[in-house]
């Protein structure tokens, strides 16, 4: 459980998510690594170049910082501390509560990410240089996929979790496993005492 609680700290070292844009003119694709506290270039100047591409269709610049960069690290530290306290002091049942809490926190994070992506891809400058419409006449959005790959005009966008996310998931899984192991041990002990 303790290891499970510590693993999400790897989010401070490794990116959570990555969005990569491929196009014929970019033999080395443009990429952005999303950390819990930063947007980073995969290769130097990638974000600047993504912004330059996106300004043609009226997308906003990817901001240097978003409020989440302050909230997420605090969230991760708090949940880790809770996990550690639970891991050292508390009953195995709390392991499950920690896991559920982490699922909720992660889901909230993903939902927040989705909202930002949606805004980024749909809240377009009405004076955009190039305006595209869907077959039904509505304004075409350029939202990158939350997970997976998607064709957006001349680009193919890929959106996939990175080692930070895997650490988080592994940590959560360890929390859940600890719960089941704890439960099993508890049952064994119970059966022992009942004998």
């Amino acid at each position: 459980m303790v290891i499970g609680a510590l693993l999400p700290l790897m989010l401070f070292l490794f990116p959570l998510w990555n969005i990569t844009l491929e196009a014929p003119q970019y033999p080395i694709p443009l990429g952005m690594d999303i950390y819990i506290n930063d947007f980073a270039d995969t290769n130097p100047h990638d974000i600047k170049n993504i912004n330059l591409m996106n300004h043609y269709v009226g997308m906003k610049y990817i901001p240097d910082a978003i409020p989440e960069f302050k909230i997420f690290p605090i969230g991760i530290i708090i949940t880790t501390l809770i996990g550690l306290i639970i891991g050292i002091k508390a009953n195995y049942k709390w392991f499950l509560y920690w896991f559920i809490m982490m699922v909720l926190v992660s889901a909230a994070g993903l939902y927040d990410f989705y909202l930002w992506e949606h805004d980024y891809g749909h809240n377009l400058d009405p004076r955009a240089i190039m305006k595209f419409t869907n077959p039904d006449g509505s304004v075409m959005g350029f939202q990158p996929p939350l997970f997976g790959s998607k064709a957006i005009l001349n680009f193919k966008a890929h959106s996939y979790p990175q080692p930070g996310a895997y650490c988080l998931a592994l940590g959560m899984a360890l929390g859940l496993i600890s719960y089941f192991v704890g439960k099993k041990e508890n049952n064994t002990e119970k059966s022992k005492t009942s004998e």
Binding site: I28, P44, H45, K48, N49, L52, Y56, I129, M130
Partner: protein
């Protein structure tokens, strides 16, 4: 006529009889030079532009042209010598010179092997040596050579790039003075210049000049391996004629190869030897951080009289006005290509050392000992060709010599001196080049012949037709002609190197954050227009797809307007260009992160447009702006804007 026809038929049959391997063109030649779309060539070839003054970059085996690097000549395409930043690069003691004759490129070496950092090349007419930095493929330094004239036996590097060497072709009065031309003999001197190359930053500085007798110093090459520390120069006109040289300089049966022990002279000057002589020569340096060049006039040069350093210089008699002077990969053999004969003379370095030790001299010239021809001779290559000019080497102990008059490349074996193969060139080959063929470790594989004449080889283009190079495969026993391709200007010589050594270091962009240009505008917040009397400075930025500012008012007739344009892009291969109607100069072509400046002197009232000259993006055609020009006495203030 009948006989001629008959002979042709016979020759044709003969060729068929010999089979395809002996034919002039191999059947699968196309495949062997084909580099599929998107694939890279195996070698870079840096081919001199001769009277174009530039250096072209080709791929081998495809023969595709990638870039023409401006060196000694103004190039409007790249604003070389036109923009304010690069004008100082073409400064000399004679003022701004927009042209030169670029002959012999040579790639920097470490431990006798090509290291791919720099290409050095000589300007022949107004003696200069240029350095091209292969991280940017741009000329970053040019140094003028004082006391020299017709800087031809240049620009060859020693095996750790300790020196790049520049020898004079013409001997001249040193220092220059007003004397009768007929007083040449004994009064004129030939300066051989050793330019020190800083191992860290590559900065060039003349270490010393050796003031040799008044011969013509034709070509040169460094010793390598065992002969490292020596440099060899061919001479002609040892007759010291000053007129009708084609006759008067062809009288001596033998001229000399001058063997110079530069390590000995280096020790001598390091110990305080030599004479500081007043001089005036330009040293021009381009800095990739400031994106600007500076020109400094140097006022002194250290000269050495060979008589002051006994044992530093010897003459090796070499028949028939030798042209090329080439040293094999082991450093043992020094080849004199006697251009007025059929034979190559090959000297032995170890025999030369024993002859020197045994003091076997055959007289002296101006105090310099002449060694006995037979004592230093290693062998003679009797090719049956005529007019040998230059030799390069493969990694398997073979030499490849160009024969100008008989128009062919001859392959021969080092040591046995036997001729292995001969192949015709179309026509009148000058230099040959094997990638790495002037180093301890030739890459081999191909020999490139650079021809002086093409006549009917290509579609005609009026009286002036293209110059060309021809590529031969040398991986087998016999050479095989694979490809003809046209070249820029006259290809005198080339230097080839495995692409892998160079391409990884090729810069993609200039970092905007490292831009130290005096007038750089690295963010839109700093865009401005400033007036200083009649001088106006526009601090402009450019990024897809606009200029900032793109509307400027308050310019007046008679102003001198400097457009300092910074390309804010940080993406690979996104340059922007700019030019202004009526600007008496070239466009700018600005690489990402770079700042360049052009000057515009408006002469007429009106509203005048400028635009991006490089198709940079989907909105390239929208990338334009206006400058309002008011009468000289108008009181409209400077103003500038972008958008509303």
């Amino acid at each position: 006529m009948m006989i001629a026809g008959f002979a042709v038929v016979l020759t044709a049959c003969n060729n068929i009889g010999k089979g395809s391997s002996n034919g002039a063109l191999t059947s699968n030649a196309a495949e062997r030079v084909y580099v599929a779309p998107g694939e890279h060539d195996e070698f870079y070839a840096f081919i001199s532009g001769g009277f174009s003054g530039q250096l072209s970059v080709y791929g081998l085996p495809s023969g595709r042209l990638f870039k023409v690097i401006p060196v000694f000549s103004q190039d409007a395409e790249k604003a070389w010598g036109y923009n304010e930043e690069t004008k100082p690069m073409l400064n000399t003691s004679h003022g701004f010179i927009p042209w030169d004759d670029a002959h012999h490129p040579d790639i920097s070496q470490t431990n006798g092997e090509l290291d791919g950092r720099y290409v050095f090349i000589n300007g022949n007419n107004t003696p200069r040596i240029a350095k091209v930095d292969l991280s940017v493929f741009e000329t970053t330094e040019i140094i003028e050579i004082p006391n020299s004239a017709g800087n031809h036996s240049s620009a060859f590097v020693t095996e750790n790039t300790e020196y790049v060497v520049a020898g004079t072709r013409f001997s001249v009065p040193v220092p220059q003075q007003d004397i009768a031309i007929k007083d040449y003999k004994g009064n004129f001197k030939g300066a051989l210049t050793f330019i020190n190359v800083d191992p860290e930053d590559g900065n060039m500085d003349i270490k010393f000049q050796l003031l040799m007798p008044g011969f013509d110093y034709d070509l040169s090459h460094p010793g390598r391996g065992k002969s490292h520390g020596w440099f060899f120069f061919t001479t002609y006109n040892t007759e010291e004629a000053n007129s009708l040289l084609e006759v008067n300089a062809s009288q001596n049966d033998k001229d000399f190869i001058a063997a110079v022990n530069w390590k000995k002279i280096e020790e001598y000057v390091n110990g305080g030897g030599g004479t500081r002589m007043p001089a005036n020569y330009a040293h021009n340096v381009y800095d990739d951080a400031t994106h600007s060049a500076t020109s400094t006039m140097k006022k002194e040069v250290l000269v050495v009289d060979p008589a002051e350093v006994p044992g530093a210089v010897y003459f090796l008699p070499t028949p028939k006005s030798p042209h090329g002077c080439d040293v094999d990969p082991s450093g043992e053999y020094i080849v004199g290509n006697g251009k007025l004969s059929a034979d190559l003379t090959v000297h032995s370095f170890s025999k030369m050392l024993s002859a020197i030790e045994g003091k076997k001299f055959d007289g002296e010239a101006y105090g310099i000992p002449i060694l006995n021809f037979e004592d230093v001779l290693a062998g003679t290559v009797k090719s049956g060709g005529l007019g040998p000019l230059h030799t390069e080497f493969d990694a398997n102990g073979n030499g490849y010599t160009s024969f100008f008059i008989s128009s062919e490349v001859v392959k021969w074996k080092l040591g046995t001196w036997e001729v292995v193969d001969k192949k015709p060139c179309y026509y009148s080959v000058g230099h040959v080049m094997i990638p790495g063929g002037n180093s301890r470790k030739p890459f081999g594989k191909y020999v490139l012949a650079m021809n002086k004449i093409t006549k009917d080889r290509y579609l005609p283009t009026g009286p002036e037709v293209t110059q060309s190079a021809q590529l031969y495969d040398i991986s087998g026993e016999k050479m095989e002609l694979l490809l003809d391709f046209p070249t820029i200007g006259e290809p005198h010589y080339a230097a080839g190197i495995a692409a892998d050594i160079v391409k990884e270091h090729s810069k993609k962009i200039f970092e905007l954050s490292e831009n130290k240009h005096k007038y750089a505008t690295t963010s839109d917040a700093n865009v401005k227009v400033e007036r200083n009397g009649k001088e106006v400075h526009v601090y402009m930025t450019t990024i897809r797809s606009h200029f900032n500012p793109d509307n400027i008012e308050g310019i007046k007739v008679g102003d001198k307007v400097y457009f300092h344009v910074t390309n804010l892009e940080q993406d690979y291969d996104v340059p922007h260009g700019v030019s202004m109607i009526g600007a008496n100069t070239s466009e700018l072509l600005i690489m990402p992160g770079q700042t360049e400046t052009f000057v515009w002197e408006p002469k007429q009232v009106g509203v005048w447009p400028f635009y991006c000259t490089d198709f940079c993006s989907a909105l390239h055609q929208e990338m334009q702006g206006y400058v309002r020009v008011s009468p000289a006495d108008s009181n409209i203030d400077l103003s500038w804007s972008l958008g509303d």
